[in-house]
């Protein structure tokens, strides 16, 4: 494999840090995200160790508050939101739609620099002494009472927000303008549809967060602001503005995962995705209706009862398209020819965990039960099932699926399957007990807790150890494969997608000849045995 590809196109630092090649930018994002994932993961580990006993023994309360804030901020804005869109998306999108690059390659690079700048500022805030507001920055605590580096952290998130906006903008324009000849909307892979929906949210929700963060900074710096209850300001206004972004942001964190699962389920059942149009439009419906549900975070906050009623109703509505997707994935398996390769194991784990996360979401959408469950571990467990059980699992699945394309190497199937299974068990052991804790009434963000909750906390902490090991494993076998893995063929899964029709790793210019699309996506032949092609 001596041919030219994007990896050997240049070895200088300049060729990486000033690149406008979407594939290299994806790699830059990938490396940065691993770094942030480990910081966030380290904080999570400390939290779980501390919670193994009811008393405070490892860290002080101030430190504990800083840990969970750091865990939240890093994981949400510096891992989950950019995870699939900016690594797998950046790499695969132009290949999938037969384009030479994204529409605005320099904007893409700028987006990475903004991301890193935001990350650096946030890390600086953490190193300087930390932030203790929780990732939600609720006023008036964050503006008038917290003695920590709120403005700095807010600035970091603000900058990273613009990185998100630029990515979303770039994707939307790319999907509209750069599709290969013949690639009509309904011939697009569902991964593209889900990224389109994600981008809509990125572009339309993030600016509201940006403004809200500015208002926090203003209030903190001036000592007076529009959320200040002392001058008649309403702290609930902050919550409305914050959740207008942050609830749709939850869909930013799951839609790309759903998109990956479509690709995996289809490939490893060697079948078209069942109900393509329904799945495609379900993504768009989630993006749209997802904007109408934010008030379900505020059922006990004192917002008007009518508002609670409307938001609860909308929250149930938004669950419908998610249910449609789950049913369609299951139906895709029917009469398939199912291969249990590592990516498929991740996909199956995703379906299970996402469904549990989704169903427990209904508990929280349900007004009367939410009064009991909100701000308890029930919520913590619920969103970890969606974001970690869902998004991170999908991320790993997609990473394994496209690993041969990205690196040109094959990883160890044995270890990959082992880690998939271990992640599934470790995850459930960590987070299922938290549902019980929440139903029992243990509030979240508690550093010390009544002793009767200990049993479940110990289980959860034990699971966290397994989960941590399971998340470390891919580091080793994927890292090993980079240097010693077998060379990957262009199309190891014998998949019909455009990204597989170019060598692995792809050349700098993606395709030697402009591909032309003549048929719908997911036209799989039953087997992995490749027909002789590219010979």
């Amino acid at each position: 494999m001596s041919e030219d590809n994007y990896l050997n196109a240049g070895y200088s630092l300049r060729s990486w840090f000033l690149t406008t090649d979407h594939k290299r930018i994806a790699i830059l994002y990938f490396a940065s995200l691993i770094f942030f994932f480990f910081i966030g993961g380290a904080a999570a580990t400390m939290i779980r160790i501390e919670l193994a006993t009811p008393q405070a023994d490892l860290v002080s309360s101030d430190m504990y508050n800083r840990l969970f804030t750091m865990h939240g901020i890093i994981m949400v804005w510096f891992f989950l939101i950019p995870s699939i869109p900016n690594t797998l998306g950046n790499f695969i999108v132009p290949l999938m739609i037969g384009a030479r690059d994204l529409a605005f390659p320099r904007l893409n690079l700028l987006s990475w620099y903004l991301f890193m700048l935001g990350g650096t500022v946030t890390l600086f805030a953490i190193l300087a002494g930390g932030v203790d507001t929780g990732w939600t920055f609720y006023t008036p605590f964050s503006t008038l009472y917290s003695n920590s580096y709120v403005v700095l952290a807010v600035a970091g998130v603000f900058i990273a927000g613009f990185s998100s906006i630029l990515t979303g903008l770039n994707f939307i324009i790319t999907f509209h303008r750069l599709r290969a000849p013949g690639l009509t909307w309904y011939r697009l892979p569902l991964f593209i549809w889900s990224l389109y929906a994600t981008s809509v949210i990125l572009v339309l929700a993030t600016p509201v967060l940006a403004m809200t963060l500015v208002l926090i900074a203003v209030e903190r710096v001036l000592g007076v602001g529009i959320f200040d209850p002392r001058i008649g300001g309403d702290p609930l206004l902050f919550q409305h503005l914050f959740w207008f972004y942050s609830h749709p942001a939850v869909y930013i964190m799951i839609l790309p995962g759903m998109g990956v699962i479509n690709e995996l389920v289809s490939c490893f059942s060697r079948k078209q995705v069942f109900g393509y149009k329904f799945v495609a439009w379900a993504s768009m419906a989630i993006a749209a209706v997802g904007f109408l549900v934010w008030g379900h975070h505020m059922f006990v906050s004192g917002q008007s009862l009518l508002a609670s009623l409307v938001f609860s109703f909308m929250s149930f509505i938004v669950a419908v398209p998610s249910a449609i997707k789950v049913f369609n994935w299951t139906a895709t398996l029917h009469k398939g020819s199912i291969h249990f390769d590592a990516p498929m194991l991740y996909a199956l784990a995703f379906i299970g965990l996402f469904t549990i996360g989704g169903l427990t979401g209904l508990f929280l959408a349900c007004l009367a039960y939410d009064v009991h469950a909100t701000d308890t571990y029930f919520v913590v467990a619920h969103f970890h099932y969606i974001m970690v059980g869902g998004m991170v699992t999908a991320y790993f699945g997609g990473l394994h699926y496209w690993w041969p394309k990205i690196t040109g190497r094959l990883y160890s199937e044995y270890w990959a399957r082992a880690s998939a299974v271990l992640i599934f068990f470790g995850f459930n052991l960590t987070f299922f007990p938290q549902f019980v804790l929440g139903a029992e009434g243990m509030p979240r963000r508690y550093h010390v807790y009544p002793p009767e909750f200990q049993v479940w906390n110990v289980l959860s902490s034990g699971g966290a150890v397994i989960l941590a090991v399971a998340y470390l494993m891919p580091m080793f076998y994927l890292g090993y494969s980079l240097f010693f893995g077998r060379r990957a063929p262009a199309n190891p899964w014998n998949a019909p997608g455009l990204e597989w029709q170019t060598p692995s790793p792809p050349p700098e210019h993606n395709f030697d000849t402009q591909p032309v699309v003549t048929r719908p996506p997911y036209q799989y032949s039953p087997d992995f045995e490749a027909e002789p092609q590219n010979a």
Partner: protein, 91 residues
């Protein structure tokens, strides 16, 4: 040196905008109670529509640009509608 004159549509739009500005300031001093706010925002919307249609050339663009321009406004509507709903219906 041909064609340096501004198109008539631009000039008309400009005059219309300045006229509307004068109108809205005048109306602000006429006691109309609740309708002062309505008048101010209606005239503001008309001015915005003129800027969008003529200066931003939206009238010469296809449906896709309309959708993109409209999406921002539509979501702004969601934010204001559901956001205000709470504050208007508190007991």
């Amino acid at each position: 040196m041909t064609g340096w004159r501004p198109p008539l549509a631009l000039v008309l739009a400009w005059f219309a905008l300045l006229a509307l500005l004068a109108l809205t300031v005048t109306l602000a001093y006429v006691p109309l109670h609740a309708f002062n706010a309505v008048a101010a925002l209606t005239i503001g919307t008309i001015k915005a529509a003129i800027v969008a249609a003529v200066f931003m050339e939206l009238r010469a663009r296809g449906p896709r640009t309309f959708v993109f321009a409209g999406a921002g406004l539509f979501w702004l509507g969601i934010l204001l509608w559901l956001g205000m709903m709470d504050f208007l219906t508190r007991t």
